[in-house]
Symmetry: none
Subunit: 209 residues, 4 copies
Amino acid sequence: MATQGAGSVVAKRGPGRPRSEKARKAVIRSTLHLINQVGFNDLTIEAVAARAGVGKATVYRWWPNKAELVIAAFVSAVEEELRFPSTGPVLESIHEQMKRWAQIFRSPLGQIVATVIGAGQSQPEILEAFRRHWIEPRRLEARRLLRQAMESGEIRSDIDPDTALDLFYGPLYLRLMIRHAPLDTPFVNEVFNVVKPVLRANSGSSGSE
Amino acid sequence: MATQGAGSVVAKRGPGRPRSEKARKAVIRSTLHLINQVGFNDLTIEAVAARAGVGKATVYRWWPNKAELVIAAFVSAVEEELRFPSTGPVLESIHEQMKRWAQIFRSPLGQIVATVIGAGQSQPEILEAFRRHWIEPRRLEARRLLRQAMESGEIRSDIDPDTALDLFYGPLYLRLMIRHAPLDTPFVNEVFNVVKPVLRANSGSSGSE
Amino acid sequence: MATQGAGSVVAKRGPGRPRSEKARKAVIRSTLHLINQVGFNDLTIEAVAARAGVGKATVYRWWPNKAELVIAAFVSAVEEELRFPSTGPVLESIHEQMKRWAQIFRSPLGQIVATVIGAGQSQPEILEAFRRHWIEPRRLEARRLLRQAMESGEIRSDIDPDTALDLFYGPLYLRLMIRHAPLDTPFVNEVFNVVKPVLRANSGSSGSE
Amino acid sequence: MATQGAGSVVAKRGPGRPRSEKARKAVIRSTLHLINQVGFNDLTIEAVAARAGVGKATVYRWWPNKAELVIAAFVSAVEEELRFPSTGPVLESIHEQMKRWAQIFRSPLGQIVATVIGAGQSQPEILEAFRRHWIEPRRLEARRLLRQAMESGEIRSDIDPDTALDLFYGPLYLRLMIRHAPLDTPFVNEVFNVVKPVLRANSGSSGSE
DNA sequence: CAATAATCGAGACGGTACGTCACGTCTTCTT
DNA sequence: AAGAAGACGTGACGTACCGTCTCGATTATTG
């Protein structure tokens, strides 16, 4: 490495004024505020820039489109809540995580998640960004845990980890998106309790048709 | 009253030129075509009207916004596929229905569903229309079937029918919306086979926490 | 009068419902009211019909465009004031007529005249209608009077009647349209008094250059 | 203060991109072209913008409505025109001027004058602008000349200069607006020759009624 | 007295232009 | 070079009227 001097790992920076951290934060804050006020669709870069006291071009310089901006804002808002609880039995970790998610989904952040997925339905790059910045990081860890549990015999190994995760989280996302029924703790518990036993080793659920 | 004679059931129509069925159909057709081409967000009333050979005002006269228009188009496209298969054991009916839905979800119609739910995330009236015209009619029938099955002892009765349906359909909707993994028949089967046994009578999965 | 029998000069009327005089009057009344409220430009057939309690098609059936309608309304409003005062010396008749016109021009009816001429500047058919229904009928009579006066030796005969009329009325129309100075009786008198002597026989004003 | 140095008279300009002079000129040119083609009524901002190769919003940014735009175009079209020829006898100057005006009135500029007066009939601000930018500058000089001629005894002094000018120019404007007869040189001569003698000193035309 | 025919009010039709809004880019001066 | 400001060309929005049309209902004349 050492491009710049002894042990410098700092990313090379060209000449010119460096980007303003103040502006970046103002934009993120403005975005979070406005998306809670008006939702994703009615969120305009124009308004974000105005409220942040920032030029429109500054926004476009750093985020290529509304979705990346919103996801960045969202990620920055939930950064610290993301870690999977990685102690104890795997299934209990999942249960804990599900309850935490339900809580997030009920908060304004849940509306942002919903709104981003929603926007992703007609703008593939949004969905792609959502998967990359949100779904995959979490799945990676969850898959790893499930595999460990399969190897240790805690859960059966003839089921696809992704399918298992869809069983746990699908109902939660469904209620988040459709809002046809409350996304409360009893519901989360019931979902977990239904799916859990089937994952136990030697449950024998194979053989469709 | 009987102004008209015995049994006059003639649908009363107000004065003025009646609305043009031809125009209505042209608009619906144009909408379906365009939404498959460009998605919900980039669908413009302007383009719908132009392609239908219809004035913009005619579209606005009959559908208050893009969402109602798209839902009307969607409903008209799947009208005949909506009926729940109501013969045989309830669980098998559900399995059949799940497979049919997965098939629809994989078709262009699936994109419409996704896109409408997506738009609903930032426009409540869209989501409301989606629930009223799409979710509820189906749930009504499904709930009735589940209750019958509970009474007949086919499935346990200590589970909320809506929760049960969310368990079956949540994972399908999740893959429809997130597209992180294929929504194929093996997946549908696995979901069904995982959830099915827990619904059987005397499965005893209650009492978390 | 023998409307139907021998020697009927009454216009033959075919079968079918005859036009409604009530509707005609309502439209004219509505037009006069609205044109005084909003002027010619903002007058819409739609509003005229609505206020008259009449179908739009009924208006279009009888008047081909807004201008014809407005002129008809205007003519019907001033009908009785149109006759040229045909007694006494020709020049005095003209003086009388000028004073009467100035009075009309100062009233709301003057605004209608101005507005119609105005609209005629960008819509030839309006100007044409104005000339046919308004200018020409008056000029016809005035020209006839002037010719009589020429023959009787009251005024010189080496001047074009239309030019003479333009000399009398041009200044009045100018003040109607430009509004740069009042169109009052002293002004009318002065115009008349300036032009009058030149028309007298043996005034000898020919031969410019 | 003196931040800039002694005598800094640099026109302060705010931040932001300055307005495009090129766009301004293109819009004015396009307006003039189109108003000659289709008149005021059928002049659309849409077409003006399109022909100028400019966004509609740019037009609306600088001119609040069609009237202001037309006024600006009109003013820019006539600003270099028409100084009064001020040599020789006053009456001959007027004669010259009348002939020049007749010529202008027959040209495309005449159509613009007519069109602007026409539009002014339903939009007072246009008429006001017309008087300020067209009528008044010319009247000012003409009035001055007439007063000089009155003082020098060239013409009688018991007549209002504005009335005299209306007598000369009223017939010309009348034919410009009504188009009921040609606005040719013979006509101009006849008008001039009729009015001229009456203005001569000691003509004695006073005493109306 | 029925058939025919033109009218009526109502209001939907395919259009066009409106004036507004946000887009994403650009051009200026300032930091 | 990045910043705020704000003008630029673009294009869709939802609305208002245009002039035409299609209804059912009415009111005449004609056979």
